[in-house]
Amino acid sequence: MVSACDLDLQDDPNAVTAATADPNLVLNRIQLDFVNFFNTTGNNGMRLTRMLNQGSNLYEQAYVPINFNGIWTTAYANILNDIKFLEGRAEPANFRRHLGMARTMRAYVLITLVDYFNAVPYSAALDPNEFNPGYDDPAAIYAAALADLNQAKQDFTAAVSSGSPNDFFYAGNYANWVKLVNSLQLKLHLNRKLVDAAGAASAITALVAENNFIEPGQEFVFRYGSNLTDPDARHPRFASQYTPGGGGDYQSTWYMWHLTEEKGFDDPRVRFYMYRQVLANPTDPDQLRCLGEIAPGHYLAGGFPFCLPGTRGYWGRDHLNAEGIPPDGLGRTAWGVYPAGGRFDNNAGQSINPTAGAGGAGIQPIMLPAYVDFMLAEAYQTIPSIKDTGKAKELVGTGMKKSFDYVRAFSIVSQAGVINTFEPLADYNVRVTNYITFVNNEFDAATDARKMYFIGREYWLALYGNGNESYNLYRRTGQPDGMQPGLLANFGDFPRSLFYPNNHLVTNNRAVQKGSQRERVFWDTNPEGNDWVN
């Protein structure tokens, strides 16, 4: 009565199967998901380091486990699992370049997972027969990431390799990938400096000797497009803010204050970073409630800017502000041209819209030559065995210069006319030089213990768009310290690591939630609690 073939309907006729999969297209997905991972992890780091506004009253309200489901899924179920699938296809086919790119990205993902969560599943992960993978020692995961980076280097330099992958980052320039790998190794070793100062120092010294880091023109960035629909290829910050009604992220009062008021003159980058829709501060408390309020006592006591930094329409929010959203979508300060692909602020004072500026063709600044210089500066300033304050100062200077140059060079691609008209390159460079001189003087004038503050502050100001490095920097060095506190006097524990996500906790019987977000990641041996960072 029943013939087997009548019931043979288990293959999904609508989908690609493993047999028909294409490694090139899988690698494309890995790259795009990797960029998404960078964006969503960095979002936390940016908000925690006051690079962007932080909503909620308390850190405990802002950083609940469910918020991290997306990161966990993107990391494991998308990127790492696709890399595992790709390895199974690419190794037999000797697709070494595919493998090199995939392993570099895997190393970055593993490092970042540890940096945010500390111990995470690794050796037992990605096994469909093991639904309850346990945690690995985070130091071992760092070691695995380092091994991946070393392996990737060989993949990029192997003489014989088949296939030619699409490369969103370097368009197939594998020498650049090798430079990136070295730069990522620098990042990894610098993070380890507190738990293995000697090892970090020797590794960093070796990397410096090899002298093969990314240089200007070799920025490891993902470049978005400007297509609005199907696919929406725009920078996600642009896409959520440059809408017909505005809205989107609030900028951070503290960060904008540093870019405009703190030094007594404007950071040359502020018009690239921030786009003001209005050129003067609002006066209507309906649009900005804090106008009618007095700063909290601990703000007054600490001398922190409150509500608005200055008078020129830099309109964002203070740290840990839980207010609802008034009709200020076409008033608040928006992301500028760098890195979100928005509009250059040439004092137009106009409303944002979906086609403004670069139309969303922004970048994710994942690793820049400037960052390398700042990391090296930190290494020379803080690792005793290689301490060299002179080198540190020099590297802060080159780091700043590379940042100023890149911010403008990137932006000029989309808005050359507007930018050059507003401020020709020569004028910009004058301001850049003045800025660097100013910081060098500050650096020189500071005590040795205080010099790291200036390295940290300038690195932080160069990191706009990259929360991963700023969060690591802040925990690793405690700098730049003295950040604007939350609006409530008691705003909770600064997350030294994130709670494990909800989708891991409720599904895995080996999952154990942290006692609190005071728990530090393995490389963070700095003092516990908000006295170190807050």
Partner: protein, 1076 residues
């Protein structure tokens, strides 16, 4: 079939003669069946107090001699209500006998269309006759059944015309599988899917359910098989209960030649709008301003503000309306807005919500010859919704033919064709501040339109480019007047349905039936969203969005059934059935989405910049096909002993295609016993007329959705486009892990019941107790993404479901004058508990969101709602208030309550007097929590009528401060309502869903035959009726008028959520019925 048997009996009894004496009066007349209006052969006519009697002839005529001194005749017929009639001085007495629902001798339709005596059933079957279905204001048969069947929970997704409806029989038995019952129309499966192409957060919350294509006026009766014991023969398809519908086209009954015409006209209005305030206007903290909220100053203080449209932040809007600016000296407009009176304007409840007109025309034509009967029907429904742009139009054609080709061979075939056209503005989930994901919703920003802005009369459209004009500075609300004009979802369904059965009686013991069913429909959907919606929708939709989707669904179903019955001895009867079934389902869908509209109001894909076969709103491909096949053999054996003990054994073996070959076969046994002590022990009691005890056991299984056993890769042909315009494609291992070992889930149910008729049939009740267990629960189980996958379908866990159903029908008053009162009480109680989930799994999200949804948690009621709650003081359990005066939200999700009602009940009363009847139906729902964002959208926004509180005062939230001391922080009304109900924890928005409701009310009059006989008509009646005329949610905040009959998560397993899903509907009108 029953009639055929009785006809034989009639022939036999007519041969008997009764003694007749000469001086007696002779009374003649005709006994007519109320069911079909035909003469009733074989009815008995008895002179009261004597043994004198006769039976009617083939046409129902009788003649009887009544002795002197006798003045009452008793007319009776098996299954019909016995009637006594005073003779008076009449010599002709015609009488109509009505169906007596209060006797256990009732014949009911059971699985596979087998008719059985109710007393022989060991399980519960509820029937609903056409009188409770016809001429109702609702075009959706499932809504008509609301409250009428104990054990069946029916919830509308909202009150819009054509919106979907959720049906759950006897609670939930599957966590992530469907819990919707099987619809069987005229013996073959009828697809009732809700083919939502979008989730409830991307515009699919109220997608129509396809029982909408059934014409309620063409329904002869409905049988509901609730337990697994009743549905064993349907195999896995019957696991959620079966609703058996017999249409007039499909009924085998012959009818008198007659044409019946019904015309109904109803009004349709929104039943659950909040009462809007008149005292306070747009603003916040008692200050005026262009907020969503209405916490501004009083409206009666003569305040003026800048004209809202002139205050727009959008230059295009300001420039389009120079009339709202103070003119310069030369007449040109300045940049100074004119002043605008800050006062109470017409509220949205009156200028936007309107009264729709619902009209239904139905024509039934029936006739028969001695061998062949036919029934034809036509129905037209035009159902206007209560908001602009919502209209349902249906055309239903039905034709049924039954014919005895030879004495042994008969054919019965029914055809229906339905065209269902639905137009509706989009409805999408909203959380009190715009629609979810920027996908438009007619209700998202509508309820809290500010009181101080004249939304009824201000322009809503930019005259230059026809784009939306809202009152807010950012233009970030889609004006509902613009939305209902320029955003629309359309669907057109063309549906053909046929059921044909061939019967052959080999002899009087053995017969065979072959039945083939074809149910096929095409559903064409369009979403037409013009460009220019502004900031209230996503940027993508703002460019103009056009989606066309073509769905086609076909079910081929075949059954071959052999039946055999014999008498093994005097007392022992035996019947057996053996059948085979094959069912093949295909679903295919194709579609295109375009974005970037060129010319306004032109919806052709060629009028858009980009077109793709993938919906950019959810990145899902629009083209896919799904097929599944199941085959089964089934058998049933029935033994009856002396008409008081019945034993029924049944089993079905199924093979299905949705799992790997080793798991494809499964056997389901079932058994039931029915015992009638009243007959066994010959109780001749007028207190207990009949008593039946029954016990049933049944099993079933649930198969997974197709394609759950193998891994796939997701592909995206348009994953990224760089600045150079190059497109990039991607493939990615699906995050859903295929499970080759997936097995069907197993359901098992025990049920016990008592049925009785008492007090001379004045009270009848039917009580069922059941327990249903699901093992090997198939769950779309979330797994730790660290495994490389986020979910997989696995067999894990158990659900236990216990319940009580009770139905009582009483006739407390039945006077010879013709006055009668019949009262029916339905009571439903179920408790579904998640018993266990596999190791390591603490919970599963059944519906909703991971941070606010229905959860399955071991030991907890199934579907328990979890969401964000208040942080509570460890010592006192009091909520903690932050220094800001607002509650602190707890870091972990908390349980917010059980959305399952503790019990539900209904009370249906019918009064009859002469030709008049009056009927009302009340419903009560006890407990069951509801999370409501309509509260967020009205109470938190301050638009509901005062006094909720004196909002010029300050408030102190109950609770403790962070240091544990009692809270003494004062907050404003704006903070109190907005921060708690809107930005605060979900816990504030959960309310007890207890509600009492007047579901139906009708008043009718059957014009008496004395008048009708002078007209060309045979019958005529007129009725006024209404649905949902009054309700009250007992524990909702004041002035919300919230109706808990709403389902924000759409048709599915979700329960207890309102995501500003829209009000319910109230309908009132009248029907005229004429027969000739």
């Amino acid at each position: 079939m029953r009639k055929a048997l009785l006809f034989v009996i009639a022939l036999f009894t007519m041969a008997l003669t009764f003694e007749v004496s000469a001086q007696q009066r002779v009374i003649t007349g005709k006994v007519i069946s109320d069911e079909d209006g035909l003469g009733l052969p074989g009815a008995s006519v008895l002179v009261k107090g004597t043994t004198i009697g006769t039976t009617t002839d083939l046409d129902g005529n009788y003649s009887i001699s009544v002795p002197e001194g006798s003045n009452v005749l008793i007319f009776s017929f098996v299954g019909l209500r016995t009637q006594e009639e005073n003779i008076g001085n009449r010599s002709v007495i015609n009488i109509i006998l009505k169906v007596d629902a209060s006797q256990l001798s009732e014949v009911v339709v059971t699985a596979i269309g087998i008719e059985k005596d109710k007393k022989a059933l060991g399980y519960a079957v509820s029937t609903v006759g056409e009188e409770l279905i016809q001429n109702r204001p609702e075009a959706d048969v499932s809504r008509v059944l609301q409250g009428k069947v104990a054990g069946v929970n029916i919830t509308a997704t909202n009150g819009m015309s054509g919106s979907g409806t959720n049906i759950i029989i006897r609670g939930y038995s599957s966590a992530t599988g469907s819990n919707q019952p099987l619809f069987v129309v005229d013996g073959v499966p009828f697809n009732t899917n809700t083919n939502a192409t979008n989730g409830f957060t991307t515009g699919g919350a109220t997608t129509s359910s396809r029982f909408l294509d059934i014409d309620p006026n063409n329904i002869e009766n409905v049988s509901v098989l609730k337990g697994l014991s009743a549905t064993v023969l349907y195999g896995d398809q019957g696991r959620n209960g079966v609703i058996l519908i017999t249409t007039k086209s499909g009924a085998s009954k012959r009818r008198a030649a007659e044409v019946t015409v019904n015309q109904s006209l109803f009004s349709n209005s929104a039943a659950s709008l909040p009462s809007f305030g008149q005292l306070y206007g747009n603003g916040f903290q008692q200050q005026p301003g262009l907020f969503f909220s209405n916490f501004g100053p009083r409206l009666d203080i003569g305040l003026q503000t800048a004209h809202p449209i002139a205050s727009s932040g959008v230059a295009n809007i300001r420039n389009a309306f120079p009339e709202f600016f103070v003119p310069n000296a030369d007449g040109t407009p300045s940049t100074t807005p004119i002043r605008y009176d800050y006062k109470a304007y017409e509220d949205v409840g009156s200028f936007f919500f309107k009264t729709g007109l619902v009209s239904n025309t139905s024509v039934q034509v029936a006739g028969s010859s001695d061998k062949t009967g036919f029934s034809a029907s036509f129905g037209y429904t035009s159902d206007e919704g209560f908001i602009p742009g919502n209209k349902l139009e249906k055309f239903n054609f039905g034709l049924g033919v039954n014919s005895s080709i030879t004495d042994k061979f008969s054919v019965n075939s029914s055809f229906t064709f339905a065209i269902t056209d639905l137009t509706s503005p989009p409805v999408n989930a909203a959380f009190g501040s715009g629609p979810s994901g920027g996908v438009p919703s007619a209700f998202a920003n509508t309820l809290y339109l500010p009181r101080s802005i004249d939304s009824a009369n201000l322009p809503f459209e930019n005259p230059n480019d026809r784009s939306n004009v809202g009152h807010r500075a950012n233009n970030d609300q889609v004006n509902p007047r613009w939305l209902t004009r320029y955003y629309r979802d359309l669907s057109t369904v063309n549906r053909f349905f046929n059921s044909t059965s061939l019967n052959y009686d080999f002899n009087d013991k053995f017969s065979a039936t072959y039945r083939i069913g074809l149910d096929t429909y095409s559903e064409n959907r369009q979403s037409q969203y013009n460009k220019g919606g502004g900031g209230g929708v996503s940027t993508l939709i703002n460019t103009g969005y056009y989606r066309t989707v073509a769905i086609s669904n076909t079910i081929w179903n075949q059954d071959l059934v052999l039946t055999y019955r014999t008498e093994l001895s005097d007392k022992l009867g035996f019947a057996a059935l053996l059948g085979g079934n094959s069912r093949y389902d295909t679903y295919s869908q194709d579609g295109l989405v375009s974005t970037g509209q060129l010319a306004f109001e032109l919806f052709r894909h060629s009028n858009f910049l980009q077109a793709s076969s993938r919906d950019p709103l959810n990145n899902q491909p629009l083209q896919f096909t799904e097929e599944q096949r199941r085959m089964g053999i089934y058998a049933q054996v029935t033994l009856d002993y002396d008409d008081y003990l019945f034993l029924n054994l049944s089993a079905r073996n199924d093979w299905t295609s949705t799992v790997e070959p080793e798991n494809q076969r499964i056997l389901y046994p079932g058994a039931s016993v029915s015992f009638l002590p009243s007959q066994a022990f010959n109780w001749n009691s007028s207190t207990v007329n009949d008593l039946k005890l029954r016990f049933g056991y049944g099993t079933s299984a649930g198969f997974p959705n197709p394609y759950s056993t193998r891994n796939i890769l997701n592909q995206n042909a348009r994953a990224f486009q760089n600045t150079g315009g190059a497109l990039f494609q991607t493939q990615s291992v699906s995050t859903v892990l295929g499970n080759p070992n997936l097995k069907p889930e197993l359901h098992e149910e025990f049920e016990f019941g008592v049925e009785s008729t008492m007090f001379n049939n004045k009270l009848r009740f039917d009580l069922s107790l059941y327990q249903k267990n699901t093992r090997n629960l198939i769950t779309n189980s979330p797994i730790d993404p660290a495994t490389g996958f986020t979910s997989t379908a696995v067999n894990i866990g158990r659900i236990r479901n216990r319940g009580i159903e009770f139905q009582a029908t009483a006739t407390p008053v039945s006077r010879p004058s013709g006055f009668s009162w019949e009262s029916i009480v339905n009571f439903t109680l179920y408790r579904t508990v998640t018993m266990e989930l596999t190791d390591g799994l603490d919970e599963i999200v059944v519906a909703g969101f991971t941070d606010l949804g229905n959860f399955a948690i071991p030991g907890k009621p199934f579907n328990i709602i979890k969401g964000t709650g208040f942080a509570r003081d460890e010592q006192t359990g009091q909520p903690i208030v932050l220094p800001s005066g607002d509650y602190q939200t707890a870091a972990e999700l908390v349980e917010l309550g059980d959305p399952n009602p503790a019990f539900t009940g209904s009370w249906i009363n019918t009064f009859r007097y002469k030709g008049f009847f009056f009927n009302f139906m009340m419903e009560y729902r006890h407990k069951g929590v509801i999370f409501s964002n309509t509260v967020t959208a009205t109470l938190a926004r301050g638009v509901t009528k005062d006094p909720v509180v004196d909002r010029e005062l300050t408030f102190i939230l109950p609770g403790v401060k962070q240091d544990g001391t009692p809270n003494d922080i004062q907050v404003t009304a704006a903070n109190y309502f907005f921060n708690q109900y809107h930005t605060g924890a979900d816990e504030s928005n959960v309310f007890d869903g207890s509600a009492v409701r007047l579901r139906e009310l009708s008043l009718g009059y059957d014009i008496p035959s004395s008048i009708i006989s002078k007209t060309p008509f045979k019958r005529a009646s007129i009725a006024l009726s209404g649905t949902n005329l009054w309700f009250k949610a007992l524990n909702f905040p004041p002035n919300m008028n919230f109706d808990p009959d709403v389902l924000g998560t759409g048709v599915g397993n979700g329960l207890g959520f309102d995501f500003v899903t829209g009000p319910s509907s109230r309908r009132f009108g009248g029907t005229v019925t004429l027969a000739f």
